[in-house]
């Protein structure tokens, strides 16, 4: 095979995954509870030569209060499920609503390269 298929992940496995901060960033907390994350840009070898990205270039991500609290919980120890339950309790929102919004937010963070997911080697039925 010339290509490799993405491994299939079940929903319980995805919920048991533990998000972990990948980027080493400087955090500036805002008075409203949010924060600014400054992440250094590391261009690939070709992009670095082509565009001559200067050293010390950073990219800033602005998170509002809830987003920042999710970011803080991405410590590699707390599972997605735990984050959802905590937020649901804290903001008095149903689990389903919180699940949808938290998962979407975590997916955005993964896409931006800010976090990674540590997958547990769990059986599908394990809760």
């Amino acid at each position: 095979m010339f290509w490799s298929r993405k491994p299939k992940i079940t929903k319980p496995q995805a919920l048991a995954a533990k998000p972990l901060q990948l980027a080493k960033c400087t955090v500036t907390e805002a008075p409203d509870g949010g924060a600014q994350l400054k992440v250094p840009i590391q261009p690939s070898r070709i992009a670095g030569r082509l565009f001559r990205v200067p050293e010390g270039t950073t990219k800033t991500f602005e998170l509002e209060a809830i987003g920042y609290s999710v970011w803080k919980q991405c410590d590699g120890k707390t599972s997605v499920q735990q984050i959802i339950r905590r937020l649901s309790k804290q903001y008095n929102i149903s689990l389903r609503e919180m699940e949808v919004s938290t998962v979407a937010f975590l997916q955005t963070l993964v896409r931006k390269g800010l976090i990674g997911m540590a997958m547990p080697d769990a059986s599908p039925d394990k809760e």
Partner: protein
């Protein structure tokens, strides 16, 4: 948690939430799930006719759900607290599987089917869920409760559309006489109001009606408790010929401090908007805990 939808009402554990909602009052399907798996499916369908027999229709519904062989194991059930006819119960011998209860409601003339996804052998369907099932006829006031948005609509109003986004829920209803009402509820109202003042939320709601409408006056805050902001939206003069459009709308907005929700109601009639606003949150104030909490711990 109470789920009330299209005339029926059911009490389910707080951890369960709707993940799929389809259909209207005549026929539809609602699936509830927790974080891990589907838990309960509700199916309803209007049944009737000259040669209609509840027993035959109920048996056919069971057969369709579990197949011919398994349907033979279904047994009659006695259901209290309702006007039910020919209820049948099928319980899977070897869970994980599905437990099914089908009954014909004389109140609304619909066949109502509950499909409980049993993970292990328990009596959740018969002992916890079925006793809380209530069906209402179209001539009564209908209760609505989904996620944490709940309201009561006057008789004769039907759901026109629903938008159930996480943290932003809205239900729209219409009546044959042309009146219409929309209820919108935003979670984390404090945050929402920090970003955008109440007036701008109202303006956004008013914009849903399209360019044919404009603000009639500046928003007025009521003096009594709970405080509400009222805004009139009127049809533009150049659309005076558009007879099918409402003459105007009244938008009412309230910050429910206790639940931290921003509730916006807009209706063709101010009395209707006010009446509906009073009923928003009925399911949250009602004491629904106790039995359902114990059910949660029992299962997980």
């Amino acid at each position: 948690m109470i789920i009330a939808w299209q005339g029926w009402r059911l009490e389910v554990p707080d951890r369960w939430g709707p993940v799929r909602v389809e259909g209207d009052a005549d026929a539809g399907y609602l699936l509830m799930a927790d974080l891990h798996r589907p838990r309960l499916g509700m199916r309803w369908k209007v049944a009737g006719g000259k040669r209609f027999k509840a027993e035959v229709a109920v048996t056919a519904a069971v057969r369709q759900e579990v197949g011919q062989l398994a349907a033979q194991d279904a047994r009659p059930l006695s259901m209290d607290g309702g006007n039910w006819q020919a209820p049948l119960l099928y319980e899977d011998d070897e869970p994980p599987g599905r437990d099914i209860c089908v009954a014909y409601s004389l109140t609304s003339g619909r066949i109502i089917e509950l499909v409980y996804h049993a993970h292990h052998r328990d009596r959740v369907l018969t002992q916890r869920l079925l006793p809380t099932l209530v069906d209402t006829s179209r001539s009564e006031v209908w209760e609505w409760s989904i996620f944490d948005l709940s309201c009561r609509t006057p008789s004769g109003m039907v759901m026109a559309k629903h938008r159930l986004n996480a943290g932003d829920l809205s239900l729209s209803f219409t009546h044959k006489d042309g009146s219409a009402v929309t209820v919108r509820q935003l979670a984390m109202a404090k945050l929402a109001l920090q970003r955008r003042p109440m007036e701008r939320w109202i303006a956004e709601q008013a914009a849903w009606h399209g360019k044919q409408f404009k603000f009639g006056s500046s928003p007025v805050e009521s003096e009594g408790e709970p405080k509400r902001v009222r805004q009139q939206v009127v049809r533009r003069r150049r659309y005076g010929w558009a007879w099918w459009l409402a003459k105007g709308y009244t938008v009412l907005a309230r910050h429910d401090q206790e639940r931290d929700r921003l509730v916006i109601v807009d209706a063709t009639d101010e009395a209707l908007a006010s009446e509906l606003m009073d009923t928003v949150g009925w399911a949250s104030t009602k004491q629904t805990k106790g039995s359902m909490e114990s059910m949660d711990t029992e299962e997980d």
